[in-house]
Amino acid sequence: MTRTRIARGGMVRLAAVAAAGALVLAGCGQAENLPDDEPDGPDPVEDAEEAGAEGDGEEVTIRFSWWGSDTRHQMNQDLIDAFEDEYPHISVQPDYTDWGGYWDKLATQTAGGDTPDVLMQEERYLREYASRGVLANLNDYDIDTSAIDETLLGSGEFDGGLWGIATGGNVRAMIVDPQAFEDAGVQMPDDATWTWEEYAEITEQISASTPDGVYGTQEYGFIEPDLAIWLRQHGQNLWNEDGEIGFDAELMAQRWQMSLDLIESGAAPSASESLELAAGGPEQSLVATNNGAISMFWTNQLETLAGVSGRDLQLMRYPGESQFERTGAFFKPAMALSMSADSDHAEEAALFIDWMLNSQTAGEILLTDRGLPANLEVREAILDQLSDSEQQAADWITEVTPEIVDATPSPPTGAGEVASLLERLNEQVLFGQLDPLAAAEQFIEEASAITGD
């Protein structure tokens, strides 16, 4: 697949500049007359940087963009320093922000023809960017993927190319506070065999035998992974291999009914409160604030939850893993590394990606920041350097890995929009504005329309 990359953003640029540009000429001649034409001057930092770059003809600068918070920024800076030590002719310029800002910035930069050389991708948007020719096919470059976990690697392969390589993986788990079980006088279930019915009973019991405001579970219904697990237990999938809806409306409706029942029975907080919890993230979840026995999160969030809650938390399998046709658990690819198809320094960018994936140095800096490392050799080597809860998560993943049947097919273009559609319909169901079956049918119809074109 060859693409004409020259034209990227061409039309927009044309429109913006044509209008302004034509008039620039008229405006320029008079600009000297401006009484106040004294901008505060260009920034000294940049000037210095440019001067430095000119010093060495060989020197190459690549830009690396990611999302995250201060701990990750610091880690990535250490990563960059280590890489620059090893390859002194390459300097890596960081460009980072929070999750929401990241995508706005990335889209804008791409529209302006300034896609970062190396960037973080997420399953939800990977196909979106890849199918529009923004990303380079990593198979064309010298990147060693031999040690990368097969299922994780597979998540970045489609349309005849490799568009992103997951740097880590996580598994969705029930994060449980044994103290809450004890306070309620309820026996911890055996998570290898427990059913959804038992889950409903146990959580209802916990809510009933604890003070008001303490709940059995934090069920906000339907976020994608919870739905995916339920569907997979029944041998279906959110998306099939062709990127189409891969499940029946009835099955989706059953899962929704379950959420409603949990709220009804008091096992889970009210619809309003559930939404508040969903918006609050890990730090404000029931388990984190010692107000509940179970919250559902990814394995790499255990560290945060354990820290905030101040309790010894445990990881448990989702209910129903042995109840239906198969298990539902899956390995979620985290933080894929991609490369711009426009990069002026593709070789160096590829080298940097290869180094981040495969070097021990990088592995030791990152540990489980991106989830359990996708590189199996690195994973092995860093296990003994982890903190207690990271260790706990890693052990748990090792324990459940044999039960994982396959990878989830990678979502189609438009998956981001579908995620918010799901959220919206979920709210309508929880507030009783739509019955589960109608919502499920509407979801299938609208999701197909969004991803169809």
Partner: protein, 319 residues
Amino acid sequence: MAAIGELSALRSKKGQATRAPSERNDGKAAVFFLLPWFVGLLLIVAGPLVASLYLSFTDYDLLSDPNVVGLDNYVQLFQDPRLSQALYVTFSYVLVSVPLQLAAALGLALLLDRGLRGLAIYRSVYYLPSLLGSSVAIAILWRQIFGTNGLVNQVLEWFNSVQPLIQIGTHGWVSHPDYALGTLMILNVWTFGSPMVIFLAGLRQIPEMYYEAASIDGATKWRKFIAITIPMLTPIIFFNLVLQLINAFQTFTQSYIISNGTGGPVDSTLFYTLYLYQQGFSNLNMGYASAMAWLLLIIIAAMTAINFFVSRYWVFYDD
């Protein structure tokens, strides 16, 4: 208006030196004074404006080049149920919160104008919410205060328990679709600081000579307020009205931070601009978002034009 008539009469005492030759043309001076603005218009404003108009006739996903699709985006505007919801949310918000906020701002500006000890402190405290405005920290706070177990509900429970007559239900004030928009309206009133400061500046601007003249004529305080303060303040009231309206139609941040960008629960806080942002950046339909923006521009421009037209009947200019 009687008040304006009175003020005019007052002013006419000042003699006839005021008559300005209205036919005078200051073209050359205007070029000088408008030069920066003009350069800015041509260099920075016009290009992106025209570009967005062009994009509104295209299918543009930001990641690849736009394809011209004619009027498709505009046709789609009229078939989009979420757009109707966004219009409904935005119009209700504008109609309720703009007058409320302006009333609060004007009232407090009058109260904090002069004649009280500790004015600077009061002003600063009342301006604080506008300083904090849209910070992430505030979003967290709102969810805590208006949450199901939040401060508001605790106060209400206490209130319900101490007296039997008025019982107010407790809700998740920002997480329930029936109440979220109302809560945002109240929150908006709370940030009346900016229009308040503008009103304060306006009050300072009223020449003292009018009050002195009126005092000589034996006018009461109330009379002076009605006959001088209010008419002289009308250009500023008008300004605040026009700008608050323009801003309210583009309200984005409040809902963005409180609903995590979703406009939820159930689209109950889906402001027009938030939906536009979702379409443009989350769904990568920038062509459609641009068409939405131009529809919004037409709506706001129409509202502003009406405002300017009506202003002839109530805004008093000293020129």
